[in-house]
Symmetry: C2
Subunit: 458 residues, 2 copies
C-alpha cells in the first residue's frame, strides 16, 4: 500500500466529448462518432496518462429534444459500448473499460455474457455501470408505450444484479480441467445451475462462458437518491457521483461509507468518483475564456430549450443578455430548478450564458491552471469528499491532451496519482478485492491464497 | 467481373473447432475458449488465405445434454460474438465478420445498433446471421417457460428483419453535414423516424448510430424448410446451406435461385454456401485416418447419447462394434433419423463410429488431398450446387493450416478463388450491391453513382 491516499481517475467519454458545443471548438474532431482511429488515439492517451478507466457514456435512444435543438448536437449518434470497448481492448493494455448497460431494457443472460466476454477479451479490465433507464423516450424503442415506474425499475435492477452476478458464478474458477487423456473437459461438481425464479426475472443458467478474469467485472453505480445510496452501499464498487460542491461531496461520502460499515462492508472497497468537468489553461483567466468560448458554441436555440426544461418555466421572452428573473414554483423536479437558479446567482450568469450551461453541462467543474486544478482535486481527496473523479473533457482531443500533459504530471509530482500501473486488471487499479464465487467459496479462497497470500474478498 | 465463376469461402468457427472431439486432438488448443491470442491467430490465418468471412457460431445456452456427455465437450463455453468480432476487427483488415444473432430472445433496437457499430468499427465488414432460436432450453434463460411456437418465431423473425433494416435506414448516408460555422450537425430532412407498430414488435426509432458503412451489414440465413427458403429468396444475401450431397445441393440451389427470379431479385445477389467439413491429408487414406482418429476422440458416453436422440431409439444395448440394427418408426424428426440411418448404411459404420459422428458432425464432408477436395469444390461450383462453402475445420489450428497451405493454393491455381481481396467490405468480397436507403433512395442513388458509376441496388 502507498503511504499517501491515491486519487483514482476515470474518463467519462463520448466520442466528441460530453459537451454539446465541443464539435465546433477549434481543433476538435466533429466526425469522431464515426471515426474509430480518433477514439483509439483518445484511449491510448488516457492509458499513457495512467487513468484507471475509460468510461463510455450511453443512451438507448436519440435524446428527446425538439428537432431545432437536436440538429445542433453531436450526441445524436455514437458507437455502441460493448463493440467499442472490445475494439479498444485490442489497442490498449492496462486501462479499465467500463460500459453502461441498462437493467430496464435488456436481459440478464445477455448482459452477464457480454461483460464476461469483454473481461476475458481484455484480460480483466471490464466494469459494468449499472443503470436503470429513466428516459421515457427509450421505452418507445423497446415495444413499450409506458415507462416502468421508478420503484419497479429499481426493484428489477436489484434482482437483475443478483442474477447477473449469480450467472458469473456459474463455473468455479478451476472448473475447466481439460483432461485430454480422460476426455474430461470440466468437472461437473464445479458447475452451478442458478435456477433463479424471482418477482421480475426467471433465469435458469448456467452461463455459457467461464467465470470472468476478475471474478466479476467491477460494479459501478450512480445512486444519488436514498434508495440509490443504499443499493450502492450494499453492492457498488465505484460510485459515479454528481455532487457539485466539496461540502456536498463530504456529506455524500460520509453517508455512503457509513452505510457500508452498517452492512458489514469495508469502506475501502467502494471508490466514490464524482463527475468533474475540467478546463486547463496557462492562467485561470485563459481557462475561463476557453470555457466561455466553448459555451458560446452551444446554439442559443438548443440552450434555451434545455434551460426552459430545467426551470420548467419559459424564459425565452426575457432579454438573453440580462439576468435570470425570479422563477415561480412548479410541480417539476425541484432539485434541477434550484440547482440551475443557484448556479445563475453564484456565477452571475446571463440567460444566454445559463442556457449554454443548461444545454451542455452544469455540474462540478474545475476551470484553472494545472496547479489550481490539482489543488482542488487534492482538497477533495484530503477532506474525504471523494476518492478521485470521473473526468469529463471540454473538447477532444485538445482538452484531454491539456489534462494529460499538465494536470497528471502535477498530481504525480504531489505523490497522489500513480506514475505507472502496478497491476493488470481494473480491480488492481482501483484496489478492489476479487469477489469469491458464492457457490464455490472454498475453492476460490484456496485459489486466492495460493496466488497472493491475500485475505479472501469480503 | 472475373471470367471464371469464383468460389466464396466462409469459415464457420468455434474457438476450439465445431467438432466435439477436437480439443483432444494432438496439437489442438484445448483452452481456446478463453484464449484470445489463439483466436487472433486463426482470424489472421483465414485473412492471409483470403477467406470471405469469419463466421462465428453461437448459442444462447449451454447445450442441452446429459451431464455425462456435457462434461466431455468444449462447446459448453465460448466468447460472445459481438465482443469477439469487434476485437478481431482490430487485428484484421479485410476479412468479413459474421455474427449469429437471434430474433427470438433479443430486441431489434439492440441488434440493429450492435451490427451498425460493428460495421463502423470494421469499416464495412459485418454480416448478420439471422436465426430463430429452436433450442427450447434457451427459453429458460430468458424468463419464459414455454418456447415460442415455430410459426410465431418465424413471423417474429420476418418482422424483426423489417424493423432492423428500417432502423439502419434511420439516417440518410449524407445526413451528417457537420457545418461548424452554422452549428448544424445534421440535416433534419435526412432523419427518418421508423414508427413501426406491428403484430410482434413496436419500435419507434430513430437508431442512435449512423447508417452502416455497407448500408446494411450482409444478411445471412440458414433457411432449409419451405418457409425458410422463401424468406431467404426474398431477403437473404448468403445462405448457410446444409445439403449433404451434390445432387441435393443442385436441387436446393435451383429452387432458391428460381424463387428469387419470381420475386424479382437478381440470383447473383444471393450466395449459397453449404457447410462443409474438410480434412486434408497427403493421401486420401491419411485424411481418412485423421478423421477416424478425431472421431475416436468423441467419448462413447457422449456419442451414444447423441445418437439415441437422433434416432429417437436407444441403441446402447447393441454391440458398439457391430452394425446399426433396423430402427423403428417414431414421432421424432424423420429427416434426422433417416439421414443418420442412411449415413450408417452408405459408409458401413459401426454403432461406435456412427455415435462419434452423431456426437460431432454428420453432414457434408470433404476428406482427401488438396487435389480431391478442390475437385469436389469445383464440381459443386461448376454444376451450380453452390457458390462456395462455409468451411468447418476438424481441429485448430492444424486443420485450418492444412487447408490454408494446401487447398487454397490449389483453388487459386485453378483460377476459382481470389489471390487477393479486390475490395474492402464484405459486400465487395461477395459481389453484393450496397442496399439503397428505403427512405432516402434518391440521395443514396446519387451517392452511389458519384462513387462508382454503378447501378443502384436492386
Amino acid at each position: 500500500m502507498s503511504q499517501t491516499r491515491q486519487l483514482h481517475l476515470g474518463a467519462f467519454m463520448r466520442p466528441v466529448s460530453i459537451h454539446t458545443g465541443a464539435w465546433r471548438y477549434p481543433g476538435a474532431w466533429p466526425d469522431a462518432n464515426f471515426n474509430l482511429a480518433h477514439i483509439t488515439r483518445l484511449a491510448r492517451t488516457l492509458e499513457a496518462a495512467k487513468f484507471d478507466a475509460f468510461f463510455m457514456a450511453d443512451h438507448l435512444a436519440v435524446l428527446n429534444m425538439p428537432i431545432e435543438a437536436l440538429k445542433r448536437s453531436h450526441t445524436v449518434t455514437s458507437f455502441e459500448p460493448f463493440t467499442l470497448l472490445s475494439a479498444l481492448a485490442m489497442v490498449t493494455e492496462r486501462i479499465g473499460l467500463v460500459a453502461t448497460a441498462s437493467t430496464t431494457y435488456d436481459e440478464p443472460y445477455h448482459i452477464a455474457r457480454r461483460f464476461a466476454s469483454l473481461d476475458h477479451i481484455s484480460a480483466g479490465r471490464a466494469g459494468w455501470n449499472i443503470v436503470t433507464t429513466g428516459n421515457p423516450e427509450t421505452s418507445f424503442n423497446f415495444g413499450s408505450d409506458q415507462h416502468l415506474a421508478h420503484a419497479t425499475r429499481y426493484a428489477r435492477a436489484r434482482e437483475f444484479y443478483d442474477v447477473v452476478t449469480g450467472l458469473w458464478d456459474s463455473w468455479a474458477d478451476d472448473a475447466f480441467v481439460r483432461d485430454v487423456e480422460q476426455g474430461l473437459f470440466f468437472d461437473p461438481d464445479k458447475l452451478h445451475v442458478l435456477g433463479h425464479e424471482g418477482e421480475h426475472l426467471s433465469v435458469r443458467g448456467p452461463l455459457n462462458i467461464g467465470r470472468p478474469v476478475q471474478g466479476w467485472p467491477v460494479i459501478v453505480q450512480a445512486g444519488a437518491s436514498d434508495a440509490g445510496r443504499q443499493l450502492a452501499a450494499e453492492t457498488a464498487e465505484v460510485i459515479f457521483g454528481s455532487e457539485a460542491t466539496r461540502e456536498g461531496g463530504k456529506a455524500f461520502y460520509a453517508d455512503v461509507k457509513g452505510r457500508m460499515a452498517v452492512v458489514g462492508r469495508d469502506p475501502d472497497h467502494l471508490k466514490i468518483l464524482p463527475a468533474a468537468f475540467v478546463v486547463v489553461g496557462e492562467t485561470v483567466e485563459e481557462a475561463r475564456a476557453k470555457r466561455a468560448h466553448l459555451d458560446s458554441l452551444v446554439h442559443y436555440d438548443s440552450g434555451i430549450r434545455s434551460l426552459n426544461i430545467m426551470l420548467d418555466y419559459d424564459v425565452s421572452g426575457f432579454d438573453p443578455d440580462g439576468p435570470l428573473p425570479d422563477i415561480p414554483e412548479s410541480n417539476a423536479s425541484k432539485s434541477a430548478r434550484d440547482r440551475t437558479v443557484a448556479l445563475a446567482r453564484r456565477e452571475n450568469l446571463t440567460i444566454r450564458q445559463l442556457a449554454a450551461r443548461a444545454g451542455s453541462y452544469a455540474g462540478l467543474a474545475f476551470v484553472g491552471t494545472a496547479k489550481t486544478i490539482a489543488d482542488e482535486m487534492e482538497a477533495w481527496l484530503d477532506e474525504r469528499a471523494s476518492d478521485g473523479f470521473n473526468v469529463m473533457f471540454p473538447w477532444l482531443p485538445g482538452g484531454l491532451d491539456d489534462f494529460a500533459t499538465q494536470v497528471v504530471p502535477e498530481l504525480q509530482r504531489r505523490g497522489i496519482f500513480r506514475k505507472d500501473y502496478e497491476g493488470t486488471t481494473l480491480r488492481d487499479h482501483l484496489g478492489l478485492p476479487r469477489p469469491e464465487n458464492r457457490f464455490f467459496a472454498k475453492a476460490a479462497r484456496e485459489v486466492e491464497s495460493e496466488a497472493a497470500g491475500d485475505q479472501p474478498a469480503g
